[in-house]
């Protein structure tokens, strides 16, 4: 069975997330900042009684900070639950072919976050590893 992909707009680019790693798509209500935390941690938000650590994907890709976003995909990782802010979630689709390796350099942030390219109905998307977005730039440098 072909992999299910969640297509979202992130930093102006349409990208694909493996749908299996995404728990939900939410509209964030309120954001509690976390002073002195890593730059890509936008803050905390509550999803029912759970605390979500909100990741600014824009900052994680080292493009600066995003503003005014409220849509996020919820990704559980290593015992914690994260919300990755995206510009827009478009659809969940089936990949037309297995992912293929990326052959060209994409630029610092994307190189780290994108694991492969994947084709959906004749269109190519970057397949993003949400865990890399969560880890952020610092973890990669270490």
């Amino acid at each position: 069975m072909a992999e299910l992909l969640l297509i979202a707009r992130l930093a102006g680019r349409r990208v694909a997330f493996p749908a299996s790693s995404v728990e939900a798509v939410v509209e964030l209500e309120g954001l509690t900042p976390v002073p002195r935390a890593a730059g890509h941690v936008a803050g905390l938000s509550a999803l029912r009684s759970r605390v979500l650590t909100v990741i600014d994907a824009f900052a994680s890709l080292e493009f600066g900070r995003s503003e005014g976003l409220s849509e996020a995909i919820v990704v559980p990782s290593d015992g914690h639950t994260y919300a990755i802010m995206v510009e827009e979630v478009e659809d969940v689709v089936e990949a037309s072919a297995p992912p293929s390796p990326i052959k060209a350099p994409l630029g610092a942030g994307w190189d780290r976050a994108a694991t492969a390219m994947v084709e959906v109905e004749g269109e190519l998307f970057l397949l993003i590893d949400p865990h890399q977005l969560i880890a952020g730039p610092a973890a990669h440098a270490a």
Binding site: G30, T32, V34, P35, A46, T53, H80
Partner: protein, 778 residues
């Protein structure tokens, strides 16, 4: 007991199941150390448990297997096929016995001996072929009254209930805003009560009797005592205290280590004990009790105690403390050195406790779960170790505060005191980049929470509140926040690594309105702010003595007398400074007095009123009576550490000190009041307590306590008459008549002179009230 046996059966069955993989792997690679260790741990655990339950067959089997495996681990024997088979046969037999135990059947025992013999080193023993264990013929399991649940599932239920609570709160808000409907409200109340009950129940499912922690101790004590040739009697108490399951697991290893230590290092051999006049058998008391939302676990032995001097010598030799520090340390501080890494009192490393984890690890482990370890050692009387841990890992009492418009929580266990900056009790000084708060003559580093977090404070320093924090293992510091809100019980969850990386937070929690709150980590904040505790680490191990050690500063009013001398008086004694017309000063009834606001005050500092103009006076008070002291001008108000050289004879000037390179005469207020003040008429009815002068602790801390008990406090000096006289242990008592003398010492260790430790409030109160009552009745 039944319940414990069921636990044991279930646990062993689980372990067997988990072990099956390891057994197969070990069979394939007998050299695999990891598998070997795993199997060794299993038989070791079984051995320990069944010693306690009196299951001799299981004990025999597991003991034999443990012995054989220990030889392999020690390298004196190789794991050949024969041994592997023999061990596996024993493990299978353990499984069968457990099964039999559960169903209540008897199992033939005739070939146990054979199995055990097979473990031996002799070759000529026939090993029963290892066959796949035949399926039990009859599945007559008793119906179970308990089931085992994973903590994950309980956590999920807990968070489900938390959701329900939040939803209920939301609904409650909506209902308040809506028009009243009695029926809806009644229904809501019912739902509300149900949710509370469910929450309570689920919280309790996480609790476990501490019995399960104590269960292994008798065996441990017995084995250790036998191994060391000592006699030890164990007394366990308070096993019905309930504690969070996870917490029990976290305490297990530290407790075991403490018990090992006590038996190995603390309790002497029978001969040694008899020689020092003790019973041949040592006593080890382990007790648990609940105090508020903390659990106290105490381990006390009646052994030789900790040799503080030996510890200090070792610490010196290891370069952990300087000779100077060692010199200055109190006995209690020396004892506390036992928590320093890489220090062990035993001259030689012993097999029991001289390796593996040290007391430093014990302390670190306890502190990691928000607990505290206290140690109290009495030479030749024993050691008492007290572990205090919060009831659960997940719900902690906290104080909510705000900085820069954002709410944060601080664990209440770390909070010493909350103060208002604007109040007179706090002074803030800038020292270079840093700030220092002076609180009642005590200086502590000040950290602004907003500065630390890099946000804009919403309140100026003067409007802020100070929270005195005492992080575990750290030194006290003050945290300035914009506002203090509320005490709350918060359900704390660990924060994501990216949040923890900031080093400031201990976790996250949800407010009643469902918004996330960050829980601040008191020691993390201190580290981030660069408040250095290193050189104070030793003092910090013992707070009260450490504070007493700090240089005491007295706030002094420096003034020039009418004849031009520089003198000083403690600011605390000065009620106000006033200019009075000379006409109000008159010699009457044998004393020079000044008329002030309809009262006559004795006047000191001058022999006669100046000829004309005004006289400037200090109005001094001892809390009861008042006197005036004439002077020329105020020089300064200074806080200084006093090094007073006493005057040869008592008089108006008690001594001289060097302040800014100038001689300053120190007024002796006690002499002044004794010589000049009028006895106040209505004081006869109250019992009188004489307090030594010049001791800030007595003055600031003890005096209010004594006064609150209805005593009139007078200065303890020669010739004083009092119902009770307070005296610092080790000082000479003044000549006077006192019905009772109460000696107070600053070390918590008993001095054997009948003195009371200064922070032993209960003992102080009882001594003081006994006397006050005696007065009232008599």
């Amino acid at each position: 007991m039944e319940e414990l046996i069921n636990d044991f059966i279930a646990e062993t069955r689980d372990m067997l199941q988990a072990l099956s993989g390891a057994i197969v792997a070990w069979e394939a690679h007998p050299g695999d150390r990891e598998r070997l260790d795993e199997i060794f741990r299993f038989v070791h655990t079984v051995k320990g448990n069944c010693g306690f339950f009196d299951l001799p067959r299981l004990a025999q089997l597991s003991h034999a297997a443990e012995g054989a495996l220990a030889e392999v681990r020690a390298g004196t024997r190789t794991a050949d096929t024969r041994l592997v088979n023999a061990v596996l046969a024993v493990i299978d037999r353990i499984g069968e016995l457990i099964q039999a135990l559960e169903t209540g059947e008897a199992l033939a025992s005739e070939d146990d001996e054979q199995l055990i013999a097979a473990l031996g080193t002799e070759i000529e023993v026939s090993v029963p072929a290892l066959e796949p264990a035949a399926a039990p013929e009859i599945e007559t399991r008793k119906s179970q009254r308990s089931i085992r649940l994973s903590v994950d599932l309980l956590d999920r239920m807990m968070s489900g209930v938390s959701d329900a609570v939040l939803a209920r709160n939301e609904l409650a808000r909506r209902l308040r805003d809506a028009p009243r409907d009695v029926e809806v409200e009644a229904a809501f109340e019912r739902v509300s009560a149900c949710i509370a009950e469910i929450r309570d129940g689920i919280t309790r499912t996480r609790m476990q009797r501490i019995d399960s922690l104590f269960a292994g101790l008798p065996r441990l004590v017995r084995d250790l005592a036998a191994e060391l040739g000592k006699q030890v009697a164990l007394e366990a108490d308070g096993g019905d205290v309930e504690l969070d399951r996870e917490m029990i697991e976290m305490i297990r290893d530290p407790l075991t280590h403490i018990v090992r230590n006590a038996i190995d290092h603390g309790i002497e051999s029978a001969d040694e004990r008899v020689a020092s006049g003790k019973k041949p058998a040592g006593t080890l008391k382990v007790s648990a009790r609940q105090a508020g939302n903390q659990i106290l676990i105490e381990v006390a032995d009646d052994g030789r105690g900790i040799d503080g001097d030996a510890l200090a010598r070792k610490a010196r030799a290891a370069g952990l403390i300087s000779a100077e520090q060692a010199e200055k340390m109190t006995a209690v501080q020396k004892t506390a050195l036992v928590f320093m890494p890489s220090l062990s009192t035993a001259e030689e490393v012993t097999a029991i406790s001289g390796r593996g984890v040290g007391m430093d690890v014990v302390r670190a482990n306890i502190e990691r779960i928000g607990g505290v370890v206290d140690i109290d050692s009495r030479s030749h009387q024993g050691v008492r170790l007290c572990i205090r841990v919060p009831l659960t890992l997940t719900i902690i009492p906290a104080l909510t505060v705000s900085a820069g418009g954002q709410v944060f929580a601080i664990p209440r266990s770390a909070i010493d005191e909350i103060l208002r900056v604007g109040g007179g009790s706090v002074r803030i000084d800038g020292v270079g980049e840093a700030e220092v708060a002076t609180i009642r003559d005590r200086r502590v580093p000040l950290i602004g929470l907003a500065d630390l977090l890099g946000v804009e404070p919403e309140a100026g320093r003067e409007d802020q509140k100070l929270i005195l924090l005492k992080p575990a293992g750290g030194d006290v510091y003050a945290l300035a926040v914009d506002a203090v809100h509320d005490h709350e019980e918060l359900v704390v969850k660990p924060a994501a690594p990216a949040v923890m990386a900031a080093g400031l937070y201990a976790g996250t929690t949800l407010a009643d309105d469902g918004s996330p709150i960050l829980l601040l980590d008191p020691s993390g904040m201190a580290n981030c702010a660069g408040v250095s505790f290193d050189e104070k680490e030793i003092d910090a191990l013992l707070a009260p003595a450490g504070e007493a050690e700090a240089v005491r500063e007295t706030s002094l009013l420096l003034f020039r007398t009418l004849d031009g001398a520089r003198r000083a008086v403690p600011v605390a004694l000065v009620e106000r400074i006033e200019d009075v017309p000379v006409e109000t000063v008159q010699r009457s009834a044998g004393k020079l007095r000044v008329a002030l606001g309809g009262r006559l005050l004795p006047l000191a500092g001058c022999d006669a009123a100046p000829a004309e103009g005004k006289l400037r006076i200090l109005r001094l008070t001892d809390g009861v009576s008042e006197l005036a002291y004439g002077f020329a001008e105020v020089v300064d108000i200074r806080a200084v550490a006093l090094d007073v050289h006493a005057a040869p004879a008592p008089g108006e000037v008690g001594g001289v000190a060097l302040i800014d390179g100038e001689h300053v005469e120190m007024l002796d207020p006690y002499w002044l009041f004794a010589a000049h003040a009028d006895a106040s008429p209505d004081d006869g009815a109250r019992p009188v307590c004489a307090l030594p002068e010049g001791d800030p602790w007595m003055e600031n801390m003890l005096r209010p306590l004594i006064e609150s008990l209805g005593y009139r406090v007078v200065a303890a000096r020669d010739g004083v008459a009092a119902d009770i006289l307070i005296q610092s242990a080790g000082t000479e008592e003044p000549q006077g008549s006192a019905a009772q003398i109460l000696r107070i010492r600053s070390q918590s260790e008993a001095a054997g002179d009948g003195s009371i430790y200064r922070y032993d409030r209960a003992a102080l109160l009882s001594a003081l009230t006994r006397n006050a009552k005696g007065q009232a009745n008599g």
